[in-house]
Symmetry: C2
Subunit: 290 residues, 2 copies
């Protein structure tokens, strides 16, 4: 996980070209700690965080029930990434890989990658999903359809009745089964992790020089507002961090430098903003959108 | 409640002088509805919402338990206000008065006023608390000490270990008792409501022409970020609205036009920002701060 964090930061820095990641290490009160790496004011990335943590502790009874954990003792390690570009033409993205161990010996992997374009580009969304499918198909034919649906359901602002973006893949509690060993689960998760930088740096390079104006910037700030809503109201990783007394600045480094809320904003019918809004729903067949 | 909403908007418009409140009426799926009034781009107020609602419905079992409600049927009416000024020298403020009726006939009032200065002004904080105490003392000697403490505990960002601002008063479930009738509770709540405009328009006028620069503006955007965190993570009114399928734009009109998150920002020791940060804690005796 630490090696992956380091490789990923290096790939993102190289692509960005304008700034490098700072490094903060921290301790967790129950045991363990983490390394938070943050980039600010890059050429492409306004703010990006790549967080590694490996923490242990004991969950409160209330939290135990909420998480449906079999035992209060836990060990959790993972890398979590959120990238907020300056340009509204470059999508926000998020990636996470994690490993959990409960006190009773149960162990599982979780993770995912999702993409939040400010303006949906159908070709790019299709290619993104094709790449996610390729990573999944290498390991199991059921993975992509199952994890794509899971992403639709998870990255969803229930109160807005809209998805956070064009989805991607999301999975949790991938344990050893009669058919699939924990080692095979790990091999899949490692492939997901290492698929992230190639996919996203390609999009950074494709979109970094696209022109935009005030209208696009304002729409971006509002979409970032929805991102904040999702992370603070629904995101389980954020909740887990806040409730287990994680390091706040590392948990909330997923929030953008600037975000905006405009009362009752409705995109002009037929505009690029309205087209994006129309695509923020579940069950879009992204592999075949035209 | 509707008369109060109208009086309050009139007082705020007159003081602001640069914009007027728009009006949206809406229906609630369980029955009833509301009137949302919003001001944007005023001389003092960048964004302000004054929301009236009177809704009824039936609570889900999960929500019933969470709210500790005695009966799934409810009727709720209230006015809720959040004001975000342009200038970091003018505090953010919030006010709410509400009346609940459960299906079993139990009825109660709730509400409060709190102040979130971007820069704590001790004299203004002292005067604000003296005004709140005067309103409380008119009705019961226990009200101010009890409701001041309640505000400290309620308007608290647990994960940051900091209060939202300098507190104020907060109260809930004020029912009829052997000592105090429901009519007397109502008289108190009405006085709280009508104390709001005089208190806040005085602060608007005192502070509206104070100079400020880039540093103050950036600090304001970050304090607004904390305001967003509180409202989305903790605020019960927001949760109630989201879970009872209220009108989203009316619930989230409490969020500022612009907010900001800077990774690991720490105020310079001895700065005005650090002084404010030091005061964002519970149990400050605001009536006697010097």
């Amino acid at each position: 996980m630490r090696q992956f964090q380091s490789d990923l930061c290096h790939a993102l820095e190289t692509c960005d070209g304008g700034a490098t990641f700072s490094t903060d290490t921290w301790q967790h009160e129950g045991g363990g700690g983490g390394i938070s790496r943050v980039i600010e004011g890059g050429d492409v990335l306004e703010k990006g965080g790549v967080n590694f943590s490996a923490v242990q502790g004991e969950l409160s009874p209330q939290f135990l029930k909420m998480l449906q954990m079999p035992d209060p003792n836990y060990f959790a390690t993972g890398v979590s990434v959120v990238l907020h570009p300056h340009s509204p033409m470059v999508p926000i993205t998020h990636m996470n890989v994690r490993y959990f161990e409960a006190g009773n010996g149960q162990a599982w992997f979780g993770g995912g990658i999702d993409l939040t374009p400010i303006y949906v580009d159908l070709k790019q969304a299709r290619e993104f999903h094709a790449q996610m499918k390729a990573v999944c198909d290498k390991h199991h034919p059921s993975y992509y359809p199952e994890f794509k649906k899971w992403a639709d359901d998870y990255f969803y602002n229930e109160h807005r009745e809209e998805t956070r973006g064009v989805g991607g893949i999301f999975f949790d509690r991938l344990m050893a089964t009669a058919e699939i060993s924990l080692e095979e689960r790990f091999a899949f998760v490692r492939d997901v992790a290492y698929a992230f930088a190639p996919f996203y740096t390609a999009i950074m390079n494709q979109n970094r020089n696209l022109p935009y104006g005030e209208q696009e910037k304002q729409w971006q700030l509002m979409r970032r507002g929805r991102y904040v809503e999702f992370n603070l109201v629904y995101d389980r990783g954020t909740k887990f961090g806040l409730l287990t007394k994680g390091r706040i600045e590392s948990i909330l480094m997923s929030l953008p430098t600037h975000a905006s809320w405009i009362y009752n904003f409705t995109p002009e019918p037929g505009s690029a903003e309205a087209m994006t809004q129309d695509y923020l729903k579940k069950d879009v067949d992204w592999l075949n959108v035209q």
